[in-house]
């Protein structure tokens, strides 16, 4: 695996505020990476450093083995920065073509690229509109389209689906999933279920510190299942705990349980046993997840 982004001892101060505190990580080419953390954790600061918008106060950071913002990253790294907007005076086509031309495409290629990227975000029809004529969600999708021009190797999307309706948020997720074979996406979002669906690697920031840097893989010896019930059932935990492979049952939140199970090839599959148990006791379940949710892993 080739390392695309490398950060070592990264610090960023804004006056007295220590926005990033000695952050170390590496991002390899491959599946989308989630950047998670509460508000003010330093996610946007980290995005801005990786894009070359701001400089770190200390530490080393490289993208494709060069300094962020240097010309070697042009056309290879693209981003949707939080709150960045297109120029209201020009049509969408004009601006996307301009960005494509800056990336070295000729007039015909840039026209094709503008149409292709808008098609990807389901906005082919707005090609000749001005940004002001679009809704907030549509403008957001157009800015996602600009990040996809020229099929860059890294695309960083800061809160890409914030403010989008569920249908269009789903479309954006589908685009990310579809393109993630050739592009490494770095996604920041507060929607953990969204990140869970898409990402294999998580960077969790809190108070400027990188708390966890992990891949969403399970311990080989223990399997986890997350079961969401429709209502609270009496004696649920006790009955469930009596099953042979179950090690632990934790009521993680209202009507949600994390079940730890010993991985035993000789036993019938646990998810089958669990569903049979629900059927026998007439328990109505809402969702069964193979593994822990990202939310449960992080918090």
């Amino acid at each position: 695996m080739s390392v695309l982004i490398r950060a070592q001892g990264l610090n960023k101060y804004f006056g007295q505020k220590h926005a990033l505190n000695n952050v170390d990580f590496e991002i390899e080419k491959g599946a989308p990476v989630a950047l998670v953390g509460p508000n003010g954790a330093g996610k946007t600061t980290l995005f801005s450093i990786l894009c070359g918008y701001i400089k770190p106060s200390s530490g080393e950071v490289s993208v494709f083995d060069v300094r962020p913002g240097s010309s070697a990253t042009f056309s290879r790294l693209a981003a949707l920065p939080q709150d960045a907007q297109l120029d209201p005076r020009f049509s969408i086509a004009h601006q996307l073509k301009f960005y494509a031309q800056l990336q070295g495409l000729n007039n015909k290629q840039s026209q094709y690229e503008a149409e292709r990227t808008l098609e990807l975000v389901g906005l082919r029809d707005v090609l000749n509109e001005k940004p002001q004529a679009l809704s907030h969600g549509m403008r957001k999708r157009v800015t996602i389209a600009q990040a996809l021009i020229g099929s860059p190797e890294i695309v960083m999307l800061d809160e890409a689906t914030a403010g989008l309706d569920p249908r269009h948020a789903r479309e954006v997720r589908e685009v990310v999933a579809k393109l993630s074979e050739q592009t490494t996406f770095i996604l920041s979002s507060h929607d953990l279920s969204e990140l869970e669906r898409l990402c294999q690697q998580v960077l969790y920031l809190e108070n400027g510190q990188l708390k966890q840097h992990q891949t969403l893989q399970q311990d080989e010896s223990i399997n986890f299942y997350t079961l969401r019930m429709e209502r609270k059932e009496t004696g649920f935990i006790e009955i469930l705990s009596s099953l042979t492979p179950v090690v632990d049952v934790v009521n993680s939140q209202d009507k949600e349980y994390i079940i730890s199970v010993i991985n035993d090839e000789q036993q019938p599959p646990f998810d089958v046993q669990l569903l049979q148990l629900c059927h026998q006791h007439h328990w109505r379940y809402r969702q069964l997840i193979n593994g822990k949710t990202l939310e449960n892993q992080l918090f």
Partner: protein
């Protein structure tokens, strides 16, 4: 892609901004109206007055007092009046036209999209050249109109008008360069075009005053007035003789402010 191509791409986009947007078209319409009034009421009538026998002596005395007597010898008086008016009005217009090179893009976040595709130096240079091209086109158009007006009055002066136009184009082009570069510098740290214009007004209004007070207090020449774009215009105005400093000062000022703009832009957060 070569840096040069990106600079050309950025500069071309500035032309589009002026010539193909509603706001740009309005600015152009205002410019054209202002210049129509200047040409029709000032240049045309002043040229007639300057050349009329009744006023010739008075004009000689007045121009002589101002060190402009050389201008009376020009075979195309319209050009002399044009030069007097444009030598000061074009720098002011250049400041207005170039007041939003990067600041609104920075405030809106559009510069973040661009900076992933072009270096900050390329953005500064590209935007600067875009503005230079715009002002050059406008100078060219006004010179064309003035030549046309002069030729309409007397068709025999077409060639002298053309020759003088070429020379004035060169002069005006060099005069406006440091003003545009100065605005590039102001734009590298100010976030609105209105504020840029206010900073400019303060700089050009208070700058000479502060330099004067400083020199008075220390009792020596500081040469700080060379920081003021347009410092050479009053010397150039009479066109008595062409000296090197008329071109070297604005060119050095342009380079100085572009380097400052580049350094500031590189250090600033987007």
């Amino acid at each position: 892609m070569h840096s040069f191509k990106r600079i050309v791409c950025l500069a071309k986009f500035e032309l589009v901004r002026l010539f193909l947007t509603k706001r740009g078209a309005l600015a152009l319409a205002a410019f054209a109206t202002a210049w129509f009034l200047i040409l029709y009421y000032l240049v045309s009538s002043a040229a007639t007055i300057v050349t009329s026998a009744a006023f010739q002596e008075m004009a000689k005395q007045m121009f002589g007092m101002l060190g402009l007597s050389q201008l009376l010898k020009w075979p195309v008086p319209e050009m002399a009046i044009y030069w007097l008016l444009s030598a000061y009005s074009f720098p002011v217009f250049a400041l207005f036209a170039a007041s939003d090179q990067t600041c609104s893009d920075r405030t809106r976040g559009t510069l973040r999209f661009i900076s992933l595709r072009a270096s900050r130096s390329e953005i500064v240079i590209g935007r600067f050249f875009g503005q230079v091209m715009i002002i050059a086109i406008l100078i060219f158009v006004t010179l064309l109109a003035t030549s046309g007006m002069a030729t309409y009055r007397d068709s025999e002066i077409f060639i002298p008008a053309l020759m003088r136009s070429i020379s004035l184009f060169g002069n005006l082009f060099i005069v406006v360069l440091p003003f545009i570069a100065f605005m590039s510098f102001i734009n590298s740290f100010i976030r609105s075009s209105r504020l840029s214009l206010i900073v400019c007004s303060l700089f050009f209004g208070l700058g000479p005053l502060v330099i004067g007070l400083l020199e008075y207090n220390i009792g020596a020449t500081t040469y700080l007035d060379y920081l003021l774009p347009g410092v050479q215009i009053s010397d150039m105005l009479g066109q008595e003789k062409i000296i090197w400093s008329h071109f070297s000062i604005p060119l050095m000022q342009t380079a100085f402010y572009l380097v400052l703009a580049d350094l500031t832009m590189k250090r600033s957060a987007l």
